[in-house]
């Protein structure tokens, strides 16, 4: 696929990178390369005329607090996030998922922005970020040469496997995770045949607030690898919202989540088995929350 590449660019500023994306013929974006390389070798991606390496663009790998949000630069590697004190304190759910992400070698190279833009329904960071109600920042160059940024809820970002709402001339520059107060519930579970280097059979991420009476609020339950994109289980969330969690409610919500899932049969599991996993693992996760 790389035979189609006529130009290789490795800019150091965002404006240069956005200018390259805006040229006719577009650009294939390279960051960590851990997904692009095997996809290119397998002939699964159609290369644009420009191969745009964004890894040297300054200012896109920082982790910082901005008002009421944790802002993660698109080029932050998963290894950086796994060990970053701010991320560990403010988004332990994301760290929990990264602990289950591929291997040390891949975490040292792979970027958060790459994992999101790759848009695999089984992407490991997608479900926790959906449960955390994250937003993505997309930058583009305007006609007068300035940089314009828009924000999009991550829940609206994914269209289909490998497809997102990022326009060809846009670059995902950052992920914004809203900060929550105390009483935060966060759980992640990835089902697979081994902890490392496995594409998840399914994954589940749960985030909620629990009040003094033990009732759950702002419940977000995200499911991976059960639909063409990672999805929120809205009916299960509605059942849990404002209610005091007990075994009966956990079973009811878990069944609702399984009913909402629309998985397929593939080499990793049958659709039937995936629904069983969603039901049983969601119930187990909620029971764990009840007892915590």
């Amino acid at each position: 696929m790389m035979n189609a590449v006529e130009r290789y660019l490795a800019p150091t500023t965002l404006a240069q990178a956005l200018a390259a994306l805006a040229t006719p013929g577009g650009a294939t974006v390279l960051a960590g390369g851990t997904d692009l390389m095997p996809q290119a070798n397998a002939g699964r991606v159609k290369a644009a005329s420009t191969l745009l390496n964004i890894r040297r663009v300054q200012g896109l790998s920082a982790v910082a607090l901005d008002g009421n949000a944790l802002v993660i630069g698109t080029l932050a590697t998963l290894a950086t996030l796994q060990h970053d004190a701010l991320v560990r304190a403010q988004a332990p759910l994301l760290v929990d998922a990264i602990d289950h992400f591929a291997s040390d070698q891949i975490r040292n190279a792979a970027t958060l922005g790459g994992n999101l833009c790759n848009a695999s329904p089984a992407g490991d960071t997608l479900t926790p970020l959906l449960a955390l109600d994250a937003q993505v920042e997309l930058a583009r160059l305007t006609d007068d040469g300035s940089i314009a940024t828009r924000r999009l809820p991550l829940a609206d970002f994914f269209i289909a496997p490998g497809r997102t709402r990022r326009e060809p001339h846009e670059l995902l520059t950052a992920v914004r995770v809203p900060l929550r107060g105390t009483g935060q519930i966060a759980r992640f579970h990835k089902a697979g045949t081994r902890p490392a280097l496995d594409i998840s059979t399914i994954s589940i991420a749960l985030a909620a607030q629990r009040d003094d009476q033990g009732c759950l609020h702002d419940v977000r339950l995200a499911l991976g690898a059960v639909a063409p994109t990672p999805v929120r289980a809205h009916r299960a969330e509605a059942l849990l919202e404002g209610r005091r969690l007990d075994a009966a409610l956990a079973a009811q919500a878990a069944q609702a989540a399984a009913d909402e899932a629309t998985p397929i049969d593939d080499v990793r599991a049958t659709a039937w088995y995936r629904r069983e996993l969603v039901n049983n693992l969601t119930r187990r996760m909620l029971d764990d929350v009840t007892q915590a």
Partner: protein, 165 residues
């Protein structure tokens, strides 16, 4: 005919300047262009870890790294670790524990374990196991490798403690 791009980088402490196809992997660059065969080609898709190298001190799969992205970076392969104290301790421990059988995974294991000892000088068995999650071995059953890594860390820690006395 694919596009070529010239890169400069440091390989095992030596400046390199070469022109590479934009689709070439760092693994192909190391083995087929430069001629360093210590880094192994196993799966070519980041699953087996046989091609593990250090880039700017962090371990990565050379098969997933675009060669063009090596420009301006510092690469260390198993050949470049010959004089590294951590790698030397690992080599001795791998021999002592019988952690080498067919040997194909060994360079990747040693490079990855060298990276572990750099970030965690005295790992326990659990840390060693986590660190080599991305390295497959079909011979040893891993226990001997884990034992060797833990032992190498312990010996290095003892040596360092001895130096301070």
């Amino acid at each position: 005919m694919s596009l070529k791009h010239e890169i400069r980088f440091r390989l095992n402490g030596v400046e390199q300047r070469t022109s590479v196809d934009v689709g070439l992997s760092a693994l192909q660059l190391l083995r087929d262009v430069i001629g360093l065969p210590g880094t192994k080609y196993g799966c070519g898709e980041g699953e087996c870890g046989a091609c593990t190298i250090l880039v700017d001190g962090a371990s990565v799969n050379a098969c997933l790294l675009f060669a063009v992205d090596c420009g301006g970076r510092e690469l260390t392969t198993i050949e470049g670790l010959a004089g590294d104290p951590r790698a030397q301790a690992l080599r001795q421990a791998f021999v002592a524990h019988g952690a080498v059988q067919c040997g194909f995974c060994t360079p990747g294991m040693v490079v990855q374990a060298t990276h572990l000892l750099a970030v965690e000088p005295k790992p326990d068995a659990a840390s060693a196991k986590r660190a080599i999650e991305g390295n497959l071995c079909r011979c040893t059953g891993y226990q001997k490798i884990v034992d060797a890594i833990v032992d190498a860390g312990a010996r290095l820690a003892d040596t360092t403690a001895g130096d301070k006395q």
